[in-house]
């Protein structure tokens, strides 16, 4: 069994891995981000980053989570319908700054955590989507 197949087994999915753009992608179906983070911890994968995308028109946002496993970059995509997703900070300390940065720059909420100001905010000011024009 290849390392990628063993990950699929661990995640309980039969979907095939797709290598695209330098990343091994796995569709997760109904699995949520906290279950994914727990599984990645179990595999001793190294968290790399989260990339946030604002989709065209009213399609919302997409977050791509990346982990490294023995030099292979793994990618998992989560569409966001309501500008929020559960935080994995309590499961993976390394996400702290990137969750805070995305909150400040895209106005997305990572549920279940508090944010200290990081890049741009002062005090209790909430994050805003910097891509939207100021009305």
């Amino acid at each position: 069994m290849s390392p990628l197949e063993s990950i699929s087994e661990k995640l309980g999915t039969t979907e095939p891995w797709v290598e695209k753009g330098g990343v091994h992608w796995l569709p997760l179906g109904a699995m949520n981000v906290r279950e994914l983070a727990t599984a990645m911890n179990g595999l001793h994968a190294r968290f790399v980053t989260i990339t946030a995308y604002q989709l065209p028109k009213e399609e919302g946002f997409r977050l791509e989570y990346h982990w490294d496993l023995d030099g292979q970059l793994l990618g998992f995509s989560f569409p966001l319908a309501d500008k929020s997703i559960e935080s994995i900070y309590d499961l993976c300390e390394a996400v702290d700054w990137i969750e805070r940065e995305i909150h400040e720059g895209f106005g997305l909420d990572f549920l279940g955590r508090e944010y200290e100001p990081l890049l741009l905010r002062q005090g209790e000011t909430p994050g805003v989507n910097l891509r939207e024009e100021k009305k």
Binding site: G21, T49, T51, D68, G71, I98, E116, L130
Partner: protein, 360 residues
Amino acid sequence: MSYKIPMGPYHPALEEPYKLDLICEGETVCDSKLRIGFNFRGIEHLAETRNYIQVVALMERVCGICSNIHTLTLCQAMEGLTGLTPPPRAKYIRVIMAELERLHSHVLWAGIAAKLMGFKTMFMTCFEIREKVMDVLCAISGNRVNYAMNRIGGVNRDISDPQAILKMVEALELEMAHTVIPIFTTSRTAISRCANIGVLTTEKAVSCGVVGPTARAAGLPQDIRRAAPYAAYEEMEFDVPVQPAGDVTARLLVRALEIMESCKILRQALAKLPPGEINTGDDKFPFTTGTATSRVEAPRGEVMYSVSWKEGSRTPSRVHVRTPTFANMPAIRWMVMGARLADTPLIQASIDPCYSCTDR
């Protein structure tokens, strides 16, 4: 009674602005809070307004020390979107530039670390050597800082006389082997100021997801050049220095050993530089719709670029940069916890932080 001492955003120990609020009891640091953003330039958003030529010049300016690494990572990602493969000679030149940049960065760091140890003569020695590394970079690229070497499909400038560059590298290697390395590894000043301070345990290094020399000095043998080789690294023989102690001495030793490994790679790359073209010769690029990701081992650790494009567009729809200091800097909180207040400038400097990269 605890009290708070702010270090920064402007402080003699910081090369650039950031803020470290140290919560102390007596002379001992109990906790700390980091604040970045003083160099925020909105570069990722700005990149979405630049075409495929301009975006390379823009991303070269994310960082003043590892400017070449940023364009290398970006160009590799854009090559993934255009289906272009750089010629072998271009891949070798990319390795040579990347290793010279690593030498430059590590020697610069050694100088700053020496200054923070109160070792001013060593600071001057390191900066003198750094000038010579920059002379080599200038001889290849014509520039001392932003080298403008990378382009989609290869590099912009050839190395016409590799033997001349090889002689410069060998002279540098000799000088570093006789000055920087022995002084940092054997001098009492360096050892007494660095040993057993700013410890990052292997467990905490894993938990924080640190990268580069910071990870390797905490016992983690991770290096993208070895784990996921790019450019011509697959054809290079080199060791990945690892130190288990996790203290400032370990970070110092890892960088000292990496200087020698970089020289080893440079000698191989210059000796085996293959003939042929240095780029694909394209000036119009058939971008396909999608996202491509590239990772490179910068002097401070792994850099990752995710670049998204829409077919027919002249500008990227998204450029995300994950810099090594962004991954390493949160670990400073754990390194300074329990340290003496007087040691914190050196401890925070020991990860070789780049605030410009971190803020973007």
